[in-house]
Subunit: 382 residues, 2 copies
């Protein structure tokens, strides 16, 4: 296998430091002897790495537990990952609300906060509210802003790699907004911006209805349908970031818009009014025939949208989510009709995370970022 | 950067051998001095590697060119990749024909051969014909079967990783045929089986209408529509190998089958008769109004099929191919209507390889396989 020799000695130190940190992140706490066993490194090397990580604030010594005193001699020192030494935020900037989640560096949730916003709010107002929601959340949780290590942000629309929104029809003033750049000024850490449906897909794989699946489609069903997909466990954005933008498929002659299909009055619903959707679902469930027909028409289009994604991608799982309540009624018709047209029909599941899916995915994005840095040579012990 | 030490000395020899072979494959011929310059290896190392590659038959010494004699002194020995030391086959097993291409190890074409087959032919008959076509091609080209180093095979249907056809409605007896296993018995080398539309996508990227693009969709338009896609330059098969199987999308209510849409008589076309499709296209171009309406209906469905793929995948290029002549008429309507429904419309191109697309992709699959082996440590010098 050979050995790395003749290189930068500090490189080797940093690799060892990352290995020890990884071992500690996988356990509640460990002694030096246990770390030697887990890492295969020599005891002096482990000691040196732990000292460096303690100095960097990423590892702390654990207070001895009471029963240790009953044993003979001095108990072995134990160390743990200092997850509370830094914090992560997941943020959803939506049509009607700004929603945030706060966690420590292990992804453990420490709090959440939401504020409603008018759908007509300007970009500046929405950005101002975002800052206010974050400030309030950090205050309530007693967390200092300068302990933030990464922020994930979900937004509707096509998002470029640098966080600029290339196109967004749902939020006023959002198209061409350099969202990433604007937010980077407000936080002491990297800010990662991603399409909302893509983040929901990430979240359902992390702790939702698609846990453990590497190939999945998340469908944001409702008045402005969208979709995000993971292929081999990674977000599929497409050549220009527009993958999954099913919102305009009706222009291909695949049927009318959801707000027309769901109408019970002859007049289309307001295109951003998900409460009206909930109401139509409720009436249909109570047996209202007009609402029932409306839901049937809506499902007809949803089947076509999802069918297009399934035939193109052949995912293992399709997760259906969205803002309106009552979506579980669409699962059975979706399953039945997909089975008819797909050579290999996928599993179809309801979102397990509901309206926390986007923020949860945003938090996972932030967590991925810091975990990558912990594993990267050189990042563990600054 | 460190050095590999303490390992297997033959490992280092084999790595050096692969490096020298790679350098020779990138040039017409080279002297030892030039190889030293290209590889950064020492002259004795290069000499040793070249000797080993000559012994293995992968490299030959080049005869000195006449003008070399005019110079003073003995000309430097020159070496080249022995591309004709082995051969590759690309095979298409289709509804109506078996088509093959033969090349040397550099991918240079040495011949092609086709035989027609009845669409009702049994699997055994089709496999027998495949063997006959290959035998005839090798005989004509004066190439011995035992010089074959890899065979790529394209077939309709869903193909599993081991080369078994999981599902194929177009060829009788083809579903659940262990095609890879059957062919492996007939060839002295690896046989790689792949879905036909996937191979056409590979081919159009290699030397066709999508040269240089890593994100593309190839649409096999016609009576049994199918599609293959590359994402980041690699075939996207989907979770169960069914990605791109657009043939049954009409069951979602996206319109009738192509054989009904293209009918000019009220009776559907025979579902495998691509000549009839060519005839309808010809009549439409000559101004026949009934044929014109038929083509319009056909384009309507094609737009929906392609739109589904584009919205799900967001490719850079869509390449349209198929067996019927006259397909270029569908490009403009396709471009216009995709521009209407896609947030980022792709380029739309006609296949540059026509009915050689599938075999060309199959040949590229075989070439990829041997190139990978040449680069793999240990494979270059046996």
């Amino acid at each position: 296998m050979g050995q790395l020799t003749g290189g930068d000695p500090s490189l080797l130190r940093r690799i060892n430091s990352a290995v020890v940190l990884r071992a500690l992140r996988g356990t509640r706490h460990s002694s030096l002897t246990e770390l030697v066993g887990m890492t295969g490194l020599s005891r002096p090397t482990v000691e040196g790495a732990v000292d460096g990580l303690v100095e960097a604030g990423l590892v702390v010594e654990v207070e001895p537990e009471p029963q240790d005193n009953r044993r003979q001699g001095r108990p072995a020192r134990r160390y743990r990952f200092h997850a509370e030494s830094g914090h992560l935020l997941g943020v959803e900037v939506g049509v009607h609300r700004v929603h945030t989640l706060l966690s420590d560096l292990s992804g453990r949730l420490l709090g959440s906060h939401t504020r409603q916003v008018a759908e007509s709010a300007s970009a500046e107002d929405r950005l101002g509210l975002l800052d206010q929601v974050v400030t309030e959340l950090l205050q309530r949780a007693g967390v200092a802003r300068d302990t933030l290590r990464a922020v994930g942000v979900g937004t509707p629309g096509i998002v470029e790699a640098n966080g600029t929104v290339r196109l967004c029809t749902a939020l006023p003033g959002w198209t061409e907004l350099p969202l990433g750049e604007r937010l980077r000024g407000a936080f002491p850490c990297p800010v990662l911006v991603e399409n909302d449906a893509n983040l929901a897909a990430v979240a359902e794989r992390w702790k939702g209805a698609a846990a453990g699946s590497d190939d999945l489609v998340f469908v944001l069903a409702g008045l402005s349908p969208g979709a995000g997909s993971l292929i081999n466990g990674r977000i599929h954005r497409g050549h220009g970031g527009a993958a999954g933008e099913i919102g305009a498929l009706h222009l291909l002659g695949l049927g009318a818009t959801p707000e027309r299909l769901l109408s019970t009055t002859g007049q289309p619903l307001h295109p951003l009014d998900e409460n009206a959707v909930t109401e139509v679902f409720r009436l249909a469930r109570e047996g209202d025939p007009v609402a029932g027909s409306a839901v049937d028409r809506f499902v007809g289009r949803l089947v076509q949208d999802v069918g297009a994604l399934v035939v193109a991608l052949d995912p293992e799982v399709v997760v259906v989510g969205g803002w309106a309540a009552g979506l579980d009624d669409v699962l059975e018709p979706l399953r039945t009709r997909l089975a008819r047209c797909c050579l290999r029909p996928p599993r179809v599941e309801l979102s397990a995370l509901g309206d926390a899916a986007i923020t949860t995915g945003a938090l996972r994005l932030a967590l991925d970022h810091v975990e990558e840095r912990f594993s990267a040579v050189g990042a563990a012990a600054p």
